[in-house]
Symmetry: C2
Subunit: 338 residues, 2 copies
């Protein structure tokens, strides 16, 4: 029987901690872990990830030394959200021939948003035989599942998605990004030029590639979501008074040569009583079609979907591989073997 | 620009009529139509299909002559539901090198239910260069979409589907099959040995193939659905008194080597006020997952999905090709060209 997959957990924030548990439960051998925070470096990964046992892996801040010394099949990278800021981390892995699977959203389909860095990383991976790819909730729930729904339509005018997430589930950086508790006028001024619909745009571009459509241009619009009654973010220890910002709704619209409009609204906000995250897709055309998931665990699904993708990445060609060039994603019962 | 796809509509019942409209709207050139009924033979296909215009194609009952004389790229076959009774029709097409795309449910994944006929038709298609394949609602809604949902799960114990359809939407043969208006005791006696869960079983076997699971055995159970108040089937001109049969619920359970149970309930019944067909899939495991479609137009989706598959079948290898060997289904804006 082939040996277990050997992985480095590269980034041990909220997502990296969740990934660590899933990887261990899927029989992956974790051979190293990388973090920056002095509160994490030098401690056992199991403790840092909030597990109730030691994993025999000490967190390091020296990724270069770790990847030079340890034999890893793949690095699971969850550090930041932009290809530009992630590229140095990807280079460390790829230059040593270690495959990279990341949650970073732009890497999922970077050819229009960040073509120069994408091409450089593609070349680097090809030169060392390593693959770079991204997965997450966009892999299935916003691409494959939507493309599948489209394949049942006779005539499509527009595809509209709405996916919401709880702004309380993440850390202070996300809280600042959402402008939680801000005065609306000040938040509007702060937002000018900031929000760019990245996740939605890359998801829609991947969806277009899946569905055989050719994008022409896109529009992004951002709206503040205002608290109609006082809300509380427990994790951020923050009260959000009535009339202040409780989150953001970003809508990206992608036009295509084929005349079909693709639209995705991503709304992150602190939820009130009875509100749950949803993932809801509708096709306007013949027939009108709709699939809905209430109480949608998007944050968890980003991690579970990525872990199921590991065997596909290990088998993929070298270079930057976008989702339309990967095989159909599958449930992997585990243990994951090389 | 390549010429339009040339198709024969083979079977002009309720489904064939619907398919005819969709094919015409997708730019397919219909070069012939086959039916048995003297009420249809000799008339223009447009009239028989309930369209408001002539299609310049006369319905014939001589399939052999039609397929000998006309150049067709593909026959769209919607006659009956079992591979054994459909095989003579498939042979007429395949022996003349004409590709076949059918709604017939067993053809979708026949290797366990009808392996001998499947192998014979596979050989015949290979010998003439023609492809035989099936599509329908099971292609996406019960296979690909479910496999995609599974690919987002960390741990799966069971996959449960429930799909319902309106027993009033079809003809008298379906009404008899559903035992509409029968006394429950007499219906139970009549059902002994009849119902076999065919559609669910083939859908689940295709799903297993998609998801990389290995089936071991299956169970079928059938339950009568009893009217709790008098119901009316307008199309069948039939009253269904309280306490009599208003439809059937068939449940197929497929066990797998991997320990995951796949279950699909298909329920066809005359609907009461406020009831609509549903397509509802749930994954029991971590996390629990569910997708729901209410007011599910399964009959229409069977036809729209099949028409979107035409380019895949024309490009497929010769022989009997099951869905796990076809590319990802796609929305086809049309016109469909060869």
């Amino acid at each position: 029987m082939s040996p277990p997959v050997k992985a480095v957990v590269y980034g041990v924030g909220a997502m990296g901690a969740l990934l660590t548990r899933l990887l261990v439960e899927k029989g992956v051998e974790i051979v190293g872990a990388v973090a920056r925070s002095p509160a994490k470096v030098g401690r056992d990964l199991g403790a840092v990830a909030g597990m109730d046992r030691s994993l025999g892996v000490l967190v390091t801040d020296d990724a270069e030394a770790l990847l030079r010394d340890r034999e890893a099949d793949i690095a699971i990278v969850a550090v930041d959200s932009y290809l530009e800021t992630m590229a140095p981390h990807f280079r460390i892995c790829l230059s040593r021939g270690v495959n990279v699977l990341t949650l970073e959203e732009e890497t999922f389909y970077p050819w229009r948003r960040a073509p120069a860095i994408a091409a450089e990383l593609d070349d680097l991976g090809r030169s060392t035989g390593a693959t770079l790819a991204a997965s997450g909730v966009q892999d299935v729930n916003w691409s494959l599942a939507v493309s599948a729904l489209m394949a049942t339509a006779h005539r499509i005018e527009r595809v509209r998605g709405r996916s919401t997430w709880h702004g309380d589930e993440f850390g202070p950086a996300v809280g600042r990004y959402l402008h939680l508790g801000w005065d609306p006028a000040q938040a509007t001024a702060s937002l000018a030029g900031q929000a760019d619909g990245m996740t939605s745009q890359t998801a829609l571009e991947a969806l277009a590639a899946f569905a055989g459509l050719t994008p022409t241009h896109h529009e992004v619009s951002t709206e503040l979501m205002i608290a109609e009654a006082e809300l509380r973010s427990g994790r951020l220890d923050l009260n959000i008074p009535e009339g202040t910002v409780r989150g953001l709704s970003e809508v990206v619209r992608l036009a295509t040569v084929e005349g079909i409009e693709l639209e995705l609204e991503m709304a992150g906000f602190v939820h009130g009583a009875g509100e749950t995250p949803v993932n809801d897709w509708a096709i306007e055309g013949e027939p009108a079609l709709r699939v809905q998931s209430e109480d949608f665990p998007g944050r968890l699904l980003t991690c579970t979907t990525l872990v199921n993708r590991i065997p596909d990445i290990l088998a993929a060609p070298a270079g930057l591989i976008t989702v339309d060039r990967l095989p159909l994603p599958r449930y992997r019962p585990g243990p994951l073997r090389n």
